[in-house]
């Protein structure tokens, strides 16, 4: 077997179909550079690359290894799971040194902007052992599903608030010369995620309990609900999508939207519902993702039957009030994915981007609509207002924006905005840029007629945008009516039974948490002794690890974990930190573990009781109705 074949085998064992994707890309590959192989003075194979009139070595011809050795030295002791991002594989010494000289199992994420260099690497460097030792993921420009955007998703998962201080990043020398745009993109991804994580942490703390409560209240809607991926089957692709947000500029052109009805797929964010209905415009769908949105924002009789794009963590009051078709997507919760994947249907994901508007925008893109028109998407305090009139108040009051940051406007030179809106602004720009890369014909028209300028959009009045794009008649409601619920009868019954098992599952978690707690107590006692018995210590750690894995297998664990953000943060950081002695390390582990498992058991019982109480209430109400 050649090195290349061995590598493909190792890759596909970890990531299914990766071998096929590489072979597929190989067939389609169009050379964009020339790789010249040489041998260094010390007999190592090295390469230089010729691209757009530039010739650059990727490894030194006198000393190929020292730069990589020194880099790894500077990283210090890397803790378990520490994320290391590397751009470039042209000099494999860097990956080799990192993989072979890092004792703990770390997460290595590699982005290679040249498929040719990646192929050369696979043909010459054996990676199987390194992949066994560490969690290594490769992203390569030109390989479907493994490109920069996929890397962004992966980076978002591993680069968390807790892991940021322990993360490391390297752009291999000369990559900024050969691939300047890609390097910029790579570094930007890292910074964007870090910014986002830092801003989200405080929000997560305040939202965590509400999120899980909503989740437990809303999950029942999956039994008769629909999946967003089903929309692809019925929504025609020759009409535009219109995203109506509730920015202050919406009041300027809301009336125009009447002309688009029946000629586009109109999706509104929850806050825009009232102003739209007041103008007699019924959107084809509205989106709600926020766990704390007050019901009053959508509390209108006409809103009840409008199809809804929801998340399970969205306000349960809104979902309960709403009686029409509800569309959901895979959000990564084990409990809901279990149901969503029951019916043999593709995995349907929507990028959340952090807000209801970004979620709805991503849905329109994922449906495959060729053009999306943005309305009321100010992402700024246009006219010093936060939202359109008729949303939170009939007339929104003006805010004092003199200390606000400003960004370039659509119609004004500068508009005031907030840090969080600026993050969304960035999200839109990046998302559209990535989408356009994938499909150069994809267009986004910003018909907000005010607010912040969104990169890669065409600025137009809504009147002109409708005139130009909304040329075909379409009956969206008739299209949606063709859809069956995502679960067939048999699977629906299964899902209902599965939901009934939740209280028992919470009880199981509580029991397992108490069992683990006993192990932590033992660990604490072991570490208090003068001379620590290393064998006993290691055996206890193994037992704890096994016990925790057992808890994590239970789908309810994820929900409990989500309500324990602070505890999780402390523990998550803990896994990256070293202690001076085994005793100290053990004592600290035990201390944290005791707190964590005690909280976990308490919360599991609370949720169990909450669900049982809900069940009793539902039963009572059904009996009342029957009487």
């Amino acid at each position: 077997m050649t090195i290349y074949e061995e590598n493909l085998k190792a890759l596909s064992a970890k990531y299914s179909r990766m071998d096929e994707l590489i072979e597929e890309a190989k067939e389609k590959m169009e050379p964009e550079l020339e790789i010249i192989e040489e041998v260094s003075y010390d007999g190592e194979p090295i390469i230089k690359v010729q691209k757009e009139g530039k010739t650059c070595y990727l490894n030194g011809k006198r000393n190929t290894k020292e730069p990589a050795e020194k880099w790894v030295e500077t990283l210090g002791k890397l803790p378990n799971n520490a994320p290391v991002f590397i751009m470039g594989l042209g000099n494999p010494s860097y990956l080799k040194e990192l993989a072979e000289h890092t004792k703990k199992k770390i997460t290595i994420i590699i982005y290679e902007p040249s498929f040719q260099i990646f192929l050369h690497f696979l043909e010459h460097v054996s990676i199987a052992e390194w992949m066994e030792k560490h969690m290594i993921t490769f992203f390569v420009k030109g390989i479907k599903g493994m490109d920069e955007q996929a890397m962004r998703g992966m980076a978002g998962r591993v680069l968390t608030y807790e892991s940021i201080p322990f993360s490391r990043r390297l752009v291999l020398p000369n990559y900024d010369v050969l691939f300047p745009d890609e390097v910029l993109g790579f570094v930007k991804v890292m910074f964007d995620i870090a910014d986002f994580e830092l801003s989200q942490y405080s929000t997560q703390i305040s939202f965590s309990t509400v999120t899980v409560k909503n989740m437990l209240d809303n999950i029942k809607y999956l039994c008769n609900g629909y999946k967003t991926i089903q929309l692809v089957e019925v929504i025609p692709r020759d009409i535009p999508g219109i995203l109506v947000s509730a920015g202050p500029s919406l009041n300027k052109n809301i009336k125009e939207l009447k002309r688009a009805k029946g000629k586009a797929f109109i999706i509104a964010v929850d806050t825009a519902i009232k102003p739209l209905l007041s103008e007699g415009i019924i959107p084809d769908m509205f989106a709600v993702v926020d766990g704390r949105k007050p019901l009053s924002l959508v509390e209108k009789e006409e809103a009840k039957e409008i199809p809804l794009l929801g998340t399970l963590s969205a306000s349960s009051a809104v979902l309960e009030y709403h009686t029409g078709m509800k569309f959901f997507y895979n959000e990564g919760y084990a409990v809901s994915d279990h149901i969503l994947l029951k019916q043999d249907m593709d995995f349907g994901s929507v990028e959340t981007g952090g807000s209801v508007a970004t979620t709805a925008f991503s849905l329109l893109y994922k449906i495959g609509l060729p053009c999306i028109i943005l309305v009321g998407q100010d992402l700024a305090y246009t006219g010093d207002k936060s939202h359109a009139d008729g949303t939170f108040a009939d007339v929104m009051k003006k805010e004092d924006t003199k200390n606000y940051i400003t960004v370039e406007g659509n119609t004004e030179e500068k508009v005031p905005t907030t840090e969080i809106l600026k993050l969304y602004l960035k999200w839109f720009g990046d998302y559209i840029a990535a989408a356009k890369k994938y499909d150069p014909n994809f267009r986004v028209i910003n018909a907000t007629e005010g607010g912040a300028k969104i990169e890669h959009t065409e600025i137009m009045t809504l009147h002109d945008a409708i005139e130009q794009e909304c040329t075909k008649e379409v009956d969206i409601q008739a299209c949606l009516k063709k859809l069956p619920p995502m679960l067939n009868e048999e699977n629906r019954k299964w899902a209902e039974e599965y939901l009934d098992s939740f209280p028992d599952k919470f009880l199981e978690v509580a029991k397992s948490a108490n069992k683990t707690r006993k192990l932590y107590k033992k660990l604490e006692q072991t570490c208090k002794r003068k001379n620590i018995d290393t064998k006993e210590y290691q055996s206890l750690l193994k037992k704890i690890e096994k016990s925790i894995k057992q808890i994590e297998k239970n789908e309810m664990h994820q929900l409990i974990d989500a309500t324990m953000i602070n505890a999780r943060y402390i523990l998550a950081r803990e896994q990256f930190l070293y202690r001076d002695s085994l005793q100290e390390e053990g004592k600290e582990l035990a201390r944290q573990g005791l707190i964590y498992t005690e909280n976990m058991a308490k919360i599991a019982i609370l949720f169990k009781e909450y669900l049982e109480e809900k069940k009793r209430e539902e039963k009572k109400s059904m009996e009342g109705n029957a009487c």
Partner: protein, 112 residues
């Protein structure tokens, strides 16, 4: 000349350390500024066998130094940071070190 060599060695050493330990790979502009001093040293070395090195070895050293210089100039032309670091750190600096007392002292200290 020895003072000039030491000064050049120190300047290049900082650039090399930045490259190796701080991952500041963009060494092009910094080394470009030192080209006159580098050329002066090369000419000085090639001028004559000042230290009574065995002739054959001296010829080899001359040829290799010219190759190093060629690599440096080619790297500067192409904007090739890897070749530049390689030629300077593992080529030119080895020569400079022969004349730098400090380098010797540091080596001795390392050995201790």
């Amino acid at each position: 000349m020895e003072e000039k060599i030491e000064k050049l060695f120190r300047a290049l050493n900082i650039i090399a350390m930045n490259y190796l330990f701080d991952q500041k790979h963009n060494n092009i502009d910094d080394i470009k500024e030192l080209v006159p001093q580098i050329e002066e040293f090369v000419l000085w070395f090639l001028e004559k066998n000042k230290f009574g090195i065995e002739e054959e070895l001296y010829s080899q050293m001359q040829a290799y130094l010219l190759q190093v210089l060629e690599d440096i100039l080619s790297a500067l032309k192409q904007g090739d940071q890897v070749l530049l670091h390689d030629a300077v750190t593992y080529g030119l600096m080895d020569y400079l070190e022969l004349f730098v007392e400090l380098g010797q002292e540091e080596k001795e200290n390392d050995n201790l």
